[in-house]
Symmetry: C2
């Protein structure tokens, strides 16, 4: 399946990579369909850059649990869509991109004709519900535009968005029974009782408002909406599917199921009915707000006042082109497809999370006003601190600052007095490990992209890192490592904390707070406390200081690491490769270790027991599909064989990224996998965010021009680069030969030209 | 039981009624305990005039349903407290007064000592839970003050309030295990799954905020709180009793049950633990808001910044004394007890429903700002349009205007475009029948108490009365009556609509809108369409115009009337007694009819089948315990035997109102029963709100001075009034003999003196 070229791409006109970058329409290289098959967990639908609305088809709505137990099938549907599916249930307005855990899928809309069906039905039984068959042959997925024919109803569905408004355009056949379903039950990762409450009011025959509260991965989440139709509905109705008792009493005076404007309950679906002539278009604008229905109406009226679908699509795509054009690359078609789709995937998270007037709901469930910044959410920080936020420090510095301001607002609203861990939509999920917000903040401070109160931000980092009751931080501080008795992930957490502490130290140094620098520089060395020199691996250590006897360096199950094994995690000292190499017996042995990693054969049981990883995401024992190894290929730069970095990163680029629906080797993880691609394709990578250095690799493009927000441009040229010419003979920066294996952030921001001289030989 | 004088009253010093009114402390006559036994459904706890907080003991928390069926025991607990009970579960912050349906009981607090018990236990098993035994001998219930000893714990509990803040003072014994329980499950009329969601955060060791959403009688109700302690708690914890699955996942990193500051779920209780020395007082201030936790904090800090319980109590009681002093009566002790307790009960509904900054949550679940008025809620309009709002037009005109503004705000937020029916706390319950908001509005317009846009208000009345889909209004308009086939309460609804329509006509006339006046004057005559002259009663009429054959004039079951029988409801033409008398065969026959009503003996089955009525609330066949007959005793004034009005009203005053816990013959109905008492004791009554006339009766006091808001005083004197001298020989108004049987609103508002000359003979 992987090797079959998807027909979708056959129709995209080929444009010479040598064409003038300034006038090129870069949208042609963006394929939201990439990653929608298997493990990518991306969605193909429409969204604006960093948009609050992600309007996309859901091909199934799988419950999180079956018979009270975790349903493994749900994992496939983190983004609501799986390429292999044959039916579309409907189009919902919120989706994570590339996550390995999920939620959202709010407010599913489905146009139908004929007999009214209010249940979605099942994929295995055609026409068993309102879902419809569809085919990829009629499907178009572009940046901020999605189109598909709903075959069961002969309805053409088109979607586009503004930042806060989903815009649907449905072209109907002639029918005296045309319907638009609004499913307020449907959602992604639907736990039993995920739906807490739904409230809807039909304001008039073209306007409906309301909200839904859910308790899923986000424990207390409320989303308001305002939905408006281009054509008045003739009648409408609702069904309450809740088995729970709700007092009805005098409400019985009304027929609440038909044309009754005030609907509330736990499990609701609605239908709006029309007569249509052949080709009639019914358009729906659906605005979101996390604050109030008034906020949703304000967003609707501000962002999408009119009914011109094409215009909204044009504006959305123009906004994408503007964002994408900040990096103009010279490369072949497939590289461009991969590159710009990666940039697209990188630029859809974190997401705007406030109304047009700056109102947003805080972590404290109180409505706040963002004072002088755009509030963002969807912080998958265990993933994104590695390369996505560093990428933003170069290409989206203003947005990155606003993201940090949003994180600081979260902190100020946190009763635990902690920066976000994995936060979205006024909720903290505590997902994964570490306190990697500090790395994002430190990286910005160190790189001089910190026009906020940096000392207060550093204080927030310090407070977070001293929250003793959070995941063994107390014992970590006391003992310098987390004892194996205390935690199943004692080693990886120790390593992650040690890196984060180093990041805090770097920020403190930059701000001249040398006491903090000293304290955290010492904490940063804690990685050494879980290294067992007798075997040469990071290893669980018991409370008494001894290493745990039972231990398997390949297994990911119960060995002290989160989503990884000792082989990979032993290398997780991004902030001190030199110290690590010394610990591991010197450069020579270290190179051997890295070589083994990339060439070993993993036993089958590894794949059975390891979450979020398939054979696709593996090279030897190197796991690219999960984040802890993302810096690993660059570690050869600290040895005498940097050419192996160049070789390995090109191998990874080639193996792990393809311009196909199944083209991603693992979850895109809200853009982290894509950010790795972008950096690596450009020829450098931030091994340790919090440092101002980018480790040099092997550019996979012929050239690139980065348009920086400060008005300067940074040009990259890769002379003689090709699939074979992956080795770097020489690098010049602004004409001077570079004798080091990194460039600095200032060197990029000052503008200039970086030239790689490529060769087939190292 | 009824005839045993409650010991509580024995200790209240007797003060001569002749004492100077201006300096008298009227609080001594207010006994919140009146009506707490049996059917009164009042609560004994603390509240401020029209206060948003009603902080009162709950003696049981009975589920609305048992085994999926209505549990009749729940009815007793409409106000949370029953005098005969021996245990107190705790003190909750919201209560209806005197209703026949219920909800609320939010945020129950209970102080305990010893082993931590997190379940309330049951009354029949001592110490089976956190509830405590108590005795009336230690109980003190005053206006805005309640005190009781919790015997199981030797804790003295005292309660007072500001408008929006409940203030608890608990005097503990020495204990190293002292607790304060916050029960977020408890509520009045707890339906299965009434609790929708609860969210709590522990901000610090003296401050807790959060909210609870419920779906009970109020379908979508959210109440926020801010709770602060005078003494820091040493530790705290929560328990989630929900059987429903909530995603926990990474939350498992924390021990969420102990000292964890962020709690959410469907069924929560919390405990806060202290060490106490003998006599230690722990005070709790508990502020409410319908808008946000920020709003609750604002209310807390604005209204109750300090910790002086006595001062807050003094202020609250002073506010009560100010309100009560607007009517200074001369009367005996029991009359004063009844009168001022009635005034107290009349002045606790409707309730303020906005934050100190004017923010409130509207019927549309959107937060609004009250622009130039105080927003009120708790509109039991089927009851209160009769006498409570007319009373307010005299004694609380400014508040009545704000109540109408609140009703108009409700209208503007109503997707049905209807004025409130029975509304509370951002919810409409549609309870009872009619659209009696229009009577309240018309009464204010006709009486000149309408400093709002009266034409817009009239438009709202017109729109409401033309909402065809609401309870048979459509067919009522088309046919002039509601056919029996369409409704179980076709006759009473027809009669109520006809009266309401007349009220609209009166307002229209006052505003010069004569077309409206004509239309609604015609609709007002619709009562004639359900009168069957062949039997002389109002009677269900079929769609074809014929009267329904099967008919029982005494039965209240399925005869076409809501909470009443044909005998009583036939008299429900308050707006046209003259027309009714003519219809019923003239004055002589009409007097006989009335006489029969007051002297008949009802069959036992009447009581079995009739809701909200016991033998206590009945005189002959006259039902005082329910509202549709409240005007009936005054109808003799339209005959040649007005002395029978004088006799009957005195009989009702004597029979139906006693200064004892069981002293009310029926539900006080948010003050309507009390308002009847006040008017009648003063000697006049608004038979048809919407008219400016008050029908004269027989004053049961020696004298009264009404301090009007316009600065004038209206004085009533009842010369030689006594239990025997109930007949009115002569009436003078400002010295002029009154030859009519009514006075007008202007005559009251202009100030002056009304003198009744009483006699033992008619």
């Amino acid at each position: 399946m992987r090797n079959i070229l998807n027909p979708l791409f056959l129709f995209i006109p080929f444009i010479l990579s040598a064409q003038s970058p300034a006038t090129e329409d870069l949208l042609q290289y963006v394929h939201p369909i990439i990653g929608t098959q298997r493990m990518g967990h991306t969605y193909p639908g429409a969204t604006s850059p960093f948009g609050m609305v992600q309007l996309s088809p859901d091909t199934d709505t799988i419950p999180y649990e079956q018979n009270g137990k975790y349903n493994p099938d749900v994992y496939k549907y983190c983004a609501g869509y799986q390429y292999d599916d044959k039916t579309i249930v409907g189009f919902s307005h919120t989706h994570f991109s590339g996550t390995g855990h999920s939620d959202l899928g709010d407010f599913l809309i489905m146009p139908t004709t004929g007999e009214l069906k209010m249940n979605p039905g099942v994929a295995s039984q055609p026409r068993s519900g309102f879902r419809s068959a569809f085919s990829h042959s009629t499907e178009v997925a572009e940046a901020d535009y999605y189109k598909v024919k709903l075959e069961d109803y002969n309805i053409l569905a088109e979607l586009t968005t503004t930042t806060r408004v989903g815009f649907h355009q449905y072209t109907f056949p002639a029918s005296d029974q045309s319907h638009i379903i609004l499913d307020l039950i449907s959602g992604i990762y639907n736990y039993e009782d995920k739906n807490v409450w739904t409230y809807v009011r039909v304001v008039n025959d073209t306007l409906v408002t309301g909200y839904r509260e859910t308790s899923g991965w986000g424990r207390t989440r409320t989303l308001y909406f305002a939905m408006t139709f281009s054509k008045p509905f003739e009648q409408y109705g609702s069904r309450n599917y809740s088995k729970k008792e709700v007092y009805r009493g005098f409400w019985g005076k009304f027929d609440q199921d038909h044309n009754f404007p005030e609907i509330a309950g736990r499990q609701l679906r609605m239908h709006f009915d029309f007569h249509t002539k052949e080709g009639d278009q019914i358009k729906v604008k659906f605005a979101l707000s996390a604050v109030s229905t008034e906020g949703a109406l304000l967003n609707l009226r501000t962002e999408a006042p009119g009914w011109d679908f094409e215009q909204v699509k044009r504006q959305g795509q123009a906004a994408w082109n503007t964002e994408l054009s900040k990096v103009q690359i010279q490369a072949g078609k497939e590289q461009k497809d991969n590159f710009y789709t990666s940039l697209y995937h990188a630029y859809i998270n974190p997401t705007v999370y406030m109304d047009v007037d700056g109102s947003y709901r805080g972590l404290d469930q109180v409505n706040h006003k963002a004072d002088g910044f755009v509030n963002y959410t969807t912080f998958s920080l265990w993933d994104t601190h590695r390369a996505l936020h560093p990428l933003f420090n170069i290409l989206q510095p203003h947005r990155n600052v606003d993201m940090i301001r949003s994180m600081l607002a979260h902190y100020s609203q946190s009763p635990e007095h902690m920066l976000p861990i994995w936060a979205f939509a006024s909720n903290e999920t505590w997902c994964m490990s570490g306190y990697h917000s500090v790395a994002v903040i430190a990286d910005a401070i160190v790189k001089g992209n910190a026009p906020f109160d940096a000392n207060a931000a550093l204080d927030a980092c310090i407070t977070t890192s001293n929250r003793r009751s959070f995941e063994d931080i107390g014992v970590y501080i006391d003992k310098g490592y987390i004892p194996s008795e205390a935690s199943d992930v004692s080693v990886s957490s120790t390593l992650e904390y040690a890196y984060d502490d180093w990041a805090i130290a770097q920020a403190a140094k930059k701000l001249g707070r040398m006491d903090v620098y000293a304290t955290y520089s010492k904490r940063a060395e804690n990685y050494k406390n879980v290294f067992d020199p007798s075997i040469g691996y990071m290893r669980p250590r018991l409370s008494d200081g001894s290493f745990r006897p039972a231990f398997d360096v390949l297994s990911t199950d119960g060995q002290g690491f989160i989503e990884g094994n000792a082989w990979n995690y032993t290398l997780y000292v991004p902030h001190d490769p030199t110290g690590l190499i010394q610990l591991m017996g010197g450069k020579k042995h270290f190179v051997q270790y890295l070589d083994s990693l990339f060439t070993m054969t993993l036993p089958d049981k590894f794949f059975a027991e390891t979450e979020d990883i398939t054979r696709d995401g593996i090279i030897g024992g190197y796991v690219h599909g999960n984040e802890p190894s993302h810096h690993v290929a660059y570690l050869y730069n600290w040895t005498d064989q940097p050419w192996k970095t160049q070789e390995r990163v090109r191998m990874i680029l080639g193996n792990q990224y393809h311009a196909r629906p199944d083209g991603l080797g693992g979850n895109d993880d809200t853009g982290q996998m894509s950010a790795w691609y972008i950096f690596t394709a450009l020829g450098f990578y931030p091994v340790a965010p919090g440092s101002d250095e980018y480790s040099l690799g092997s550019p996979a493009i012929d050239g690139a021009v980065l348009q920086l927000e400060n008005g300067k441009t940074f040009t990259i040229e890769a002379k003689d680069q090709s699939e074979k010419n992956v080795y770097v003979k020489k690098v010049t920066l602004n004409g001077q030969i570079l004798t080091r294996r990194y460039i600095t952030h200032d060197e990029i921001l000052n503008g200039g030209k970086l030239v790689f001289y490529m060769s087939a030989k190292h």
